[in-house]
């Protein structure tokens, strides 16, 4: 399949996925128990609203129309780039997302750096020293990293680095020092997954004949491993990095609460507790789009990373 056909195919499937996500996220409004209008007004007024107030709110928010019509209106607005308005203020959902996004992106980027910085050397060492104590220690570390709840690790890091050693702040956002602990917390789980992947990928590559050729040319072992073997072993890592974006955003929800970082995760949690459905729907859709686009980019990047890969071709 050529690149253009592949793009059309992927764009089509992505559209199907996003339509499904939009229907599910919009349906959330009607699946949750209780009358959303009543719930929202109760929270806004801090008392039970009257029937007249509830009716007025429904009319104002277009909640008195048939559900398919409401969905159609919402989708039309979304396609125009308008994700709606928060129930609790005049703020646009798009604006709220864009305000919160930089902090989450900063956290995600820092976490990826932490994850790669931990995973690549550990995975390579583990593969090169296969079956040794180094390998077993690295695998145990990866197991612990995967198993440990990230909020627990967060509190543990706060205990050590903020409360005991006093070298880093407990929480907050805005400075690099406040990014260190959340990035390590979020990056550690991803590092554990990547370490295993780098190890297995390296083990496959290390048996390849071209490495022997490189050695026979007199290249130093470090060059053979890090320049020739690792470059090829990293192709599957790129795939997993794309998939891990979802995990990063999931993790950010908890991490942003623990470290009081007002990013997308915290915005989502607040919106869920407030039943601020336009915000919940907006963030969910935005996340889905980000996920789909990232995966598309990852797939496209294969061809450049490994020219042998045929887009849309059979795995065999």
């Amino acid at each position: 399949m050529d690149t253009a056909s592949y793009l059309v195919h992927r764009f089509g499937t992505s559209l199907v996925v996003l339509t499904g996500v939009s229907i599910i996220t919009y349906g959330l409004l009607f699946l949750t128990p209780g009358d959303p209008a009543e719930v929202i007004l109760s929270q806004q007024l801090d008392r039970q609203p009257s029937e007249a107030e509830i009716e007025a709110f429904r009319a104002e928010q277009g909640m008195d129309e048939p559900v398919p019509l409401q969905y159609g209106d919402w989708l039309t607005d979304v396609l125009r780039g308008d994700l709606g308005t928060s129930y609790y203020s005049d703020a646009s959902v798009t604006g709220l997302i864009l305000d919160a996004l930089p902090l989450t992106l900063e956290l995600a980027a820092a976490s990826v750096v932490v994850a790669l910085a931990l995973a690549i050397p550990t995975g390579v060492l583990s593969a090169v020293h296969r079956g040794t104590a180094i390998d077993r220690a690295s695998q145990l570390g990866a197991l612990i990293g995967v198993s440990m709840p990230n909020f627990w690790l967060g509190y543990l890091l706060i205990l050590v680095f903020a409360l005991t050693l006093g070298v880093l702040p407990v929480a907050g956002a805005g400075s690099y020092s406040q990014l260190v602990l959340p990035a390590i917390t979020l990056g550690t789980g991803m590092a554990a997954v990547l370490t295993r992947l780098v190890r297995s990928s390296m083990l496959e590559v290390l048996d390849e004949g071209y490495l022997d050729t490189a050695r026979s040319k007199g290249l130093r072992e470090r060059i053979v491993i890090y320049k020739h073997a690792l470059r090829n072993a990293l192709v599957p890592v790129v795939t997993i990095l794309g998939v891990q974006l979802g995990a990063l955003l999931n993790g950010a929800v908890v991490i942003e609460i623990v470290f009081q970082r007002p990013g997308l995760g915290m915005l989502l949690v607040d919106a869920v507790f407030e039943r601020n459905y336009p915000v919940v729907q907006g963030i969910t859709l935005f996340t889905a789009v980000a996920f789909v686009v990232t995966n598309l980019l990852v797939d496209l990047s294969y061809r450049y990373l490994d020219p042998r890969v045929e887009l849309g071709g059979d795995p065999a």
Binding site: T32, P33, G34, D35, P36, E38, V39, S42, Q44, L45, R47, Q48, P49, E53, A56, S86, Y88, S89, D90, A91, L96, D99, A100, Y155, I158, L159, A162, L163, G166, V167, L168, P169, V170, A171, G172, A173, G174, S175, Y176, S177, Q178, V180, I257, V258, F259, Q260, P262, M266, D270, F273, E274, R275
Partner: protein
């Protein structure tokens, strides 16, 4: 000679730089604050969440003392002169307020009656939702200027609780130049708004021309940390000076520290089980009394709350001056008597439902205790933990027997708690009463009359007498099972002095904060 650094040297330098960077971070983040600046962490985000009612362009006025109302509240939950120095009811529905002279807004202008009329007519009564009309008993067009320092209010019906009701952080006075939606907050309070970092912190500065005298602190930072553990860690790390509500599990540890002091304050809130008296079998007063005799409030306070709270005998916090406690029947735990009452009642072993909201503090633990204790007097409790909307759906339809709930007032006028819960025309009861002549917690008849007397009385003694009598009737009939009066906890740097806590936590004053060293 080759002077290029080796890989090892580069790595060493990198590690060294990293450590130096960490140390640098520590220095910048943990700098000692200059004298006169303090950092406070409330339970809610002081920059709000964009909520139109609770957050004005990013500032939640509840905590910050930037804006002020006409009336404040005393520690005894009585209306207290503030921007208004006096008020009089000139007839059943007319209130005349005398304004304090010499009050300066943060923009340098003097506050006059025009600003009060503007605040109510152009903002409070027109821009915050229709619910304000029912709450304040005021409609737009009901506030008039009499002269520069006198304003009249015409309530929609006789409303003696009006001064106490407007003693609320949100019923504030601002000049026409202010725009609360865009964080153009021009208040009269001891602090002026300096900076908002959305979702992180809010900084205010001393207002030198404050009518009550310039406050001690030069600057206050209200920092966001909604997670109790994070709040506690911030205090322990020395990053903040005072936190509201540390994590319950950490309080005993904090008490043992020399560098932290703990203060508790009884709040205007209480926790109780309200009983549906119009549904079988809890329509039987003997069964309701039996349930009351099954519970030890002291044990709950000692075990579940770690002594943060007061055992309750009535449904309202005793900081409210007309709330009854000693005057009420004492249902101390007496399982034999409870079992006798159960056998006298119409109860025949069926399950009684008990609803609790999923995010209520200690809610699940409390209903577990109720389940165990009721089991010991042979009453089966079926606990249902529900989300707020589902719970309200059930209670609106009267489809429950017991509900674990709370009451709380954010203004000195707590009359509405009695009205809404126990009067037949209160929000809890009205719809069901009008639909089928029932309700939820309304005894009707004499209790309704007593509540009406208390609600309409201008005489504090008469008001108290009526409300106490109503509460006695309610407790005699076992309409509620009181559990505890709430207390809240503040933890602060041991060197901090001058914080003035209030039964309404959002009324705390920060004007006299100082450090001992």
């Amino acid at each position: 000679m080759d002077t290029a650094p080796t890989r090892r040297q580069l790595l060493t330098a990198g590690v060294g730089a990293g450590i130096a960077g960490l140390a640098g971070c520590a220095e910048t983040s943990l700098d000692d604050e200059a004298d006169g600046t303090f950092t406070i962490v409330p339970t809610a985000d002081p920059t709000g969440t964009g909520d139109d009612w609770d957050s004005w362009g990013g500032m939640a006025p509840y905590w910050t003392r930037v804006i002020e109302p006409l009336v404040w509240g005393t520690d005894g939950m009585q209306p207290q002169p503030w921007l208004a120095t006096d008020w009089t009811a000139t007839d059943d529905t007319t209130w005349v307020f005398d304004l304090r002279e010499g009050v300066t807004f943060h923009n340098g202008e003097e506050m006059t009656a025009d600003d009060v009329v503007h605040s109510f007519e152009e903002d409070i009564l027109t821009d915050r939702g229709d619910f304000v009309h029912g709450w304040l008993h005021l409609e737009p067009g009901s506030v008039d200027r009499i002269d520069d320092y006198t304003v009249s209010f015409e309530t929609t019906e006789p409303f003696p609780g009006f001064p106490g009701t407007i003693a609320h952080n949100m019923i504030d006075i601002q000049p026409p130049e202010a725009d609360r939606r865009d964080a153009e907050i021009i208040g009269t309070g001891p602090f002026t708004l300096a900076e908002i970092e959305q979702g992180q912190q809010l900084r205010v500065e001393r207002f030198e021309d404050y009518w009550g005298g310039a406050p001690e602190p030069t600057e206050l930072t209200f920092r966001a940390a909604e997670d109790a553990t994070t709040r506690t860690d911030l205090l322990v790390a020395g990053e903040v000076d005072l936190i509201h509500e540390p994590a319950t599990s950490r309080i005993s540890g904090l008490r043992e520290r020399d560098d932290v002091r703990i203060e508790t304050q009884q709040s205007s809130g209480s926790v109780f089980v309200s009983i549906n008296i119009h549904r079988e079998p809890t329509d039987d007063a003997d069964l309701r009394r039996a349930l009351n005799y099954a519970i030890s409030q002291e044990e709950i306070v000692n075990t579940v709350l770690e002594n943060i709270g007061q055992p309750a005998r009535g449904p309202l916090s005793t900081v409210i001056d007309w709330a009854a406690d000693e005057e009420l029947p004492a249902y101390e735990r007496d399982r034999d008597r409870a079992r006798d009452l159960v056998s006298q009642s119409s109860y025949d072993g069926e399950e009684i439902s008990c609803l609790v909201e999923n995010d209520m503090d200690d809610g699940r633990t409390l209903v577990q205790i109720l389940q165990e204790e009721f089991g010991k007097i042979n009453v089966n409790l079926d606990v249902e933990v529900l989300e707020g909307p589902s719970l309200r759906d059930r209670t609106d339809r009267g489809e429950f027997h017991l509900e674990l709930g709370t009451s709380q007032s954010n203004s000195p006028a707590a009359d509405y708690i009695m009205w809404e819960n126990f009067h037949t025309m209160g929000i809890s009861n009205k719809d069901l009463y009008e639909a089928d002549g029932t309700g939820l917690h309304n005894l009707g008849g004499e209790v309704d009359e007593l509540i009406e007397t208390g609600f309409q009385s201008h005489d504090p003694d008469e008001k108290r007498e009526a409300y106490v009598a109503a509460q006695r009737e309610i407790m005699d009939a076992g309409v509620v099972i009181p559990l505890f009066y709430r207390e809240y906890v503040v933890a602060a740097d041991a060197e901090l002095e001058g914080f003035d806590l209030h039964p309404i936590d959002k009324f705390a004053q920060w004007g006299e904060l100082t450090r001992t060293t």
